[in-house]
Symmetry: C2
Subunit: 462 residues, 2 copies
Amino acid sequence: MAETDGPARTDALFTDLYELTMMQSYYAEDMHDRAAFSLFVRELPENRNYLLAAGLDDALSYLENLRFDDADIAYLRELGQFTPDFLDWLKDFRFTGNVYAVPEGTPVFENEPLLEVEAPIAQAQLVETAVMNIVHVQTLLASKAARVVEAAKGKAVVDFGARRIHGRDAAIKAARAYHIAGVNATSNVEAGRAYGIEVSGTMAHSYIEAFANEAEAFAAFTRSYPETVLLVDTYDTVQGVQNVIDLARKLGEDFQVRAIRLDSGDLLALSRKARAMLDEAGLQDVGVFASGGLDEYKIAELLEAGAPIDGFGVGTAMGVSEDAPSLEIAYKLTAYAGQGRLKLSPGKASYPGLKQVFRHESPEGHAIRDTLALHSESLEGRPLSECVMREGKRLKPDTDLNAIRTYAAEQIAALPPEIRAIQPADPPYPVKISTKLEAYTEEVRTYLKGLERRTSGINSRS
Amino acid sequence: MAETDGPARTDALFTDLYELTMMQSYYAEDMHDRAAFSLFVRELPENRNYLLAAGLDDALSYLENLRFDDADIAYLRELGQFTPDFLDWLKDFRFTGNVYAVPEGTPVFENEPLLEVEAPIAQAQLVETAVMNIVHVQTLLASKAARVVEAAKGKAVVDFGARRIHGRDAAIKAARAYHIAGVNATSNVEAGRAYGIEVSGTMAHSYIEAFANEAEAFAAFTRSYPETVLLVDTYDTVQGVQNVIDLARKLGEDFQVRAIRLDSGDLLALSRKARAMLDEAGLQDVGVFASGGLDEYKIAELLEAGAPIDGFGVGTAMGVSEDAPSLEIAYKLTAYAGQGRLKLSPGKASYPGLKQVFRHESPEGHAIRDTLALHSESLEGRPLSECVMREGKRLKPDTDLNAIRTYAAEQIAALPPEIRAIQPADPPYPVKISTKLEAYTEEVRTYLKGLERRTSGINSRS
């Protein structure tokens, strides 16, 4: 929370200590050459056919504003691990690098760079932790939300997650990611303010329980909010619906309630029963809204069974991405001083150099396959990655969240139906590696293995 | 991040919209009586035998500092859902209630209140979202970390989670929760500063890759950090260990490296091989540190197999509580205007009134069972809940995080071994409901059902 986050006034110390110790060593060794780092997801979670890129805007803000203030430097001095020279150097530290990225709202696949940083190595190293954190949580939550929106087939989806999303920052960022993914509104007022997103909400069980009975509670709430949604499951759902109908009779033309909300029990049976009761009472305009432990699987099941539900409140399962609460996101050195780099450790291989992704599309705009290529290649298909920051300045200062949302909807709609679907796609969306990138990867591997052999040889002679 | 969280200067709008609309209705209906709300976890996740309470300190800070500034009120006005009178009233809003809670670091079980709020209903209602959010994430992550610490059997555990924990706020709070649970250090520099926790870190693969070869990288890093931990798996782990041994031979008495770090591959086999190579080279003082996708299950497996590992870096699995990424935490009205309240909806029952938990302990201090009772009862056992805030002021302004950590260690050690263990306990820890609480619950249920019947009767006559 604002008051309890500690004394931070900058984001510079929101980093792993090793970024700073490595920086000091680069500084001490006079290593100021430019490095390229690639942020990508190694392998998609089992239950994700694609990821929806999100978080770039915040990552760029972080990079633009990155600096160490006196309090930051004083704390680092206290740690006793940094030299006065290095700490002095940090005072003028700024991020002056270039960033290439796919636009927010782009569906991405494994090994495709979400973002690439190209900067003097100390700069590109320092930002690893924060950039990963920012892009990870927003991409994770946008990807989950896109599935919920897909399952809801055009019915409204409202974010109810603030209470159980992990911390305040994620709860606010979640609402932004959800907006990109097509969620209709959020219950989170601060997120509404921060991003200009529609806020939505009605009443809790506690409100109903504070009154002598449910009918009185409904009457009181509609006095302040005539066009509200009334929660009907506090005591007995069918009686709750009846209480709404009775209120409608009593209020006559003043009755403007938009919907009832079901929050527990058998939502299929109860939504049918409620719909029938409302229809019978001539309340065809009163919708049925459902919540309570929902996720894309449950929503799909309800709608496939024909549940007459007009909208869904989705909280925890979407808010923590319950079935895949993290992504195998990595931020890897891919070039230093003009030379491609990669890691040879088992199971964690990567591709060297700055890259481009070409999305092959049909004449109608349907995505067919991607090719991961060298940045310098020019292949068939639409290039997804673009330069978004040059010498520390972002190229498009204004981010239009609604434009991102529209773009995301188009991009998702262009995916093959089985990739958009919530069931695992088999085969997955095809991502090819270009011939030149394959060859370059092999070249860098051979070069690095040669270096290691030479090291090994030298060592064994020493 | 600090710069991108939007314009918030208070925490007042970090709430669900319905808290505010309910408040306005309470205000409009002149409902200012005191309410009691209970924050508890309905059912423990399958893989948790207990939860470790955390987050109280931040919840109390939030409550103490809660107010609406002009910008908050202006935004609410823009929403067009609030009356000028109500918005005026918010200007002087303060939390003036009482809070009862179990101390942070207390193991708790299902239905046991982590925290109870007793305040005028509008106040107690507003704080629901933020208090749940704060206590949920810290309790979730402390509970997960306690399992990792248990599995590590006294070996060091270091938090590596900052890059994938959901957002900055959670990453910083996580380090605090981990400290309470017995984790030894964090890589998160901001968290180290915020809470005075030990920060720790070494080098990444990118550092190694920036040099012509691994041996040069090791030599360079130890020039800045002689007592460091060297990462040996970038190219070939066995060769990496050999490079460390060669460095030791070269540096002689200047060699002060504390440990090597394994981050991939078969950690059991590699730790044995590395240990043997180091021992053979006379480097018995150089430890073996392991990381890379670790959680309590993998750590237990490694140590049970006798892996010679001295410490563990644990990131994502602990950071998102991967096997249980949320808790069924609830904040329920339990009394209003002196009358017990509860919800009758299926599967979501609760107990009315302010409560106390009595922990029955053996003469040696071992926890035997708990009894959930009315707040007014005085039963056998140690009462866990205490008044921590009176009339909006906390009773103990200074929180000593190390004292909480010591208390947590004692409390965890006092649990039955099968409850402390990472395997699911069968039977679970016994939590009884006191006779008086059972009777009171029945009384309130009967009363509420009577009210509903009367409502129903009235309606059917109308």
